[in-house]
Symmetry: C2
Subunit: 416 residues, 2 copies
């Protein structure tokens, strides 16, 4: 039966008119705080780093620098591909001392999201299937939908909690053989939503497969590393990067770099898409393709935010101050992670393999049910496809240590 309503948007742009799940849960958590007081409620739905008292962490070093900028440094348009000094700094910020060998170029984007969008829209064909793990950041699906692409998943974890290489290989080959072109998104280190970090040995296997597949010169293989949480992923978070050195020409490595978490710049919309390739020509093609997309979608980026990052990388003292402030919060997050993991061990609840970062996940067959059960105990979490996500970035040590026991209780009650 034909839909009798008048649609003014084109058919492909008719979207569900539903409340965003996370937003709805965050609102319910806020109501619970009103009713029961802050201490009685655990709100683990929020994706930003909070102080122990629940206020947002905004690095003083970053915001002092922003507010000291001349007005016109904030007011001016940025260069379409991004301010050159920012792009240089973004490459340093992304790779640290682990920059792969090859030609590296960057284009500014509004946060990591813009970088993922350009990767999907410019490096796949309409209707193509993009692949990522079956624990994934939900907006990957939204970005694919918006661009008219599909998303397929491989199994992320072996029963032992390691990277399920065999499942990845099967999914990768299936779509590569069909499309002769593939974009595989990896969210690592400190994966959202599980906190999992692929080991260097796991990366080695992935890159070996990719090099083998590249022997068919018709194949086009694009690996996108979403490194949004890299600065909260613990030591050696960048040690996998040099493996992208010396790729064959028909393999392209992309990095979605975000200043959101690394510099608490969530609301300033600042990030970059960075490529690594052995070929000047391919780097140049990448650059002009993404700069064109900037112009044709959101124009240029947030100038003041770019200027701040450029200043941080242009001034050693300031750089050290930012590092020191971030180290304080890294330690804070580690305390919460340890508190959660120790309590989880004690409580004996199922867990995915948390290595670091903002989130922990608990696998469960009916996530919504577990989420609702926890709400009865004033614990607010986010239901995903394969379990629930807990934002330890937003819960202090005490609350982080409480959550595993609340989960244990909920799981037991659900078993009855």
């Amino acid at each position: 039966m034909k839909d009798s309503r008048i649609h003014m948007v084109a058919d492909h742009a008719i979207r569900p008119q539903a409340e965003d799940v996370i937003f709805g849960l965050a609102a319910r958590a806020a109501q619970a705080v009103e009713a029961h007081g802050k201490d009685a409620v655990i709100n683990a739905t929020i994706g930003t780093l909070l102080e122990d008292d629940g206020s947002l962490v905004a690095f003083k070093t970053v915001y002092n620098t922003l507010k000291e900028l001349g007005n016109s440094e904030i007011a001016s348009y940025a260069d379409l591909p991004g301010e050159p000094a920012f792009l240089e700094a973004a490459v340093k910020a992304a790779f640290g001392s682990y920059k792969p060998e090859g030609i590296v170029r960057a284009v500014a984007t509004p946060g990591g999201t813009g970088a993922i969008r350009h990767s999907i829209a410019n490096f796949t064909n309409p209707g193509d299937t993009v692949i990522t793990a079956n624990w994934y950041w939900q907006p990957y699906q939204t970005i694919c939908d918006e661009s008219g692409r599909k998303l397929d998943n491989y199994n992320l974890f072996t029963p032992e909690g390691q990277f399920d290489y065999n499942s990845f290989e099967e999914c990768f080959l299936k779509h590569l053989n069909k499309q002769k072109r593939i974009l595989a998104i990896f969210n690592t280190p400190a994966h959202n939503p599980t906190g999992f970090t692929m080991s260097d040995a796991e990366w080695e296997k992935v890159l070996k497969l990719i090099r083998t597949c590249a022997e068919d010169g018709e194949n086009r293989i694009v690996i996108l590393c979403d490194i949004a949480y890299i600065d909260f992923a613990g030591e050696n978070a960048r040690s996998f990067m040099p493996q992208f050195s010396g790729l064959p020409e028909n393999c392209l490595a992309l990095f979605a770099y975000s200043a959101s978490k690394s510099y608490t710049m969530y609301g300033l919309r600042n990030g970059a898409i960075i490529c690594v390739t052995p070929s000047e020509e391919i780097a140049s093609e990448f650059f002009y393709s993404c700069a064109f997309s900037n112009r044709g979608i959101w124009s240029n980026g947030t100038r003041g935010a770019m200027a701040v990052i450029a200043k941080i990388y242009g001034n050693e003292d300031l750089y050290n101050e930012v590092e020191s402030e971030r180290n304080h919060y890294r330690a804070l997050l580690k305390v919460r992670g340890d508190a959660f993991m120790n309590a989880a061990k004690e409580a004996g609840i199922p867990l995915t393999n948390y290595c670091g970062g903002f989130f922990v996940s608990v696998p469960y067959s009916n996530p919504r049910e577990l989420c609702d059960k926890l709400i009865e105990d004033n614990v607010y979490t986010v239901p995903l496809q394969k379990g629930i996500r807990l934002a330890i970035c937003a819960t202090n040590e005490e609350k982080s240590a409480k959550m595993p026991f609340a989960i244990k209780k909920a799981l037991e009650e659900l078993k009855k």
Copy 2:
């Protein structure tokens, strides 16, 4: 012959690897200033409002407000569709006291560009043709290209310099009859690149046609008003807006609202797409479609910039201070416009119908030739399809008055 190079971007995303024309000319102008001194060079390529001394205008009232925001008010993510207080303010800022009757909803976008992108991508089908006048802001073409749409043009001016309604009607009907869906972009008041403002009577004819075409219930008619320059368009710039009251359900009015020029927020990427429709359902569909696109492309917008606009509209004193600062610059721009137009009359050069705003245009059959000839005289302008654009927003009174004579001289030399 098949292209033998390895392309890593998908075919649709291979873009020209050419220097941006305006950027290139601006760079040459900067070199000329180095060589000959500021006074000897007229740089009329820049699209932002400059002080008489050539420095950028950044409203003190706006940037003081920004810098007084708490850090976390800048650092936080904004709501995906935009902060509610900002969206309310943006509607007030867009319409003033001329808000059309109907259901009005807004979604935040990065400047006007994001609003135009959503209009094109969500309200037309892939492959469709969007229409606008033959003097137009070049990025309309880029946005269409990026989204896989085409752009067709009607003739903007009658020989008398008025809106060429007949040409518009022909183009509009041609594509509407073929597509049963059309998006027509109007850049008015104070059109970029000519400064032309459609009169209320001209709008009346356009809206009469649209209402007639809406009698075919299968037609979907979307009118996008790009009002980027509305706050520098002189008195009564909004008087056309109430004509969008009481449209048929299958006609949708969209407004691309930008804070870039109105609040000198170019580099903060702040704007909104606003709809006017008689139907709650269509407004809701618009809202969810555009909010979904936000999530799937750039995520949320610049929180601090939204907060500033919300504060301005929430505080009468601050509002009046901003108005008063803007009035000063409106007057400055008017002085330049008058100086240019008086000199143009004296010099007797051809002109398009300038009514207000940042730009004036001179029609000429070989724009690049005229542009190059003017460079010999150290006058830098932007070549378009049908003439050259002069940014009086960037040239002081003296230089504005000089340009027509430089153009006269150049035209005479080209005639030889």
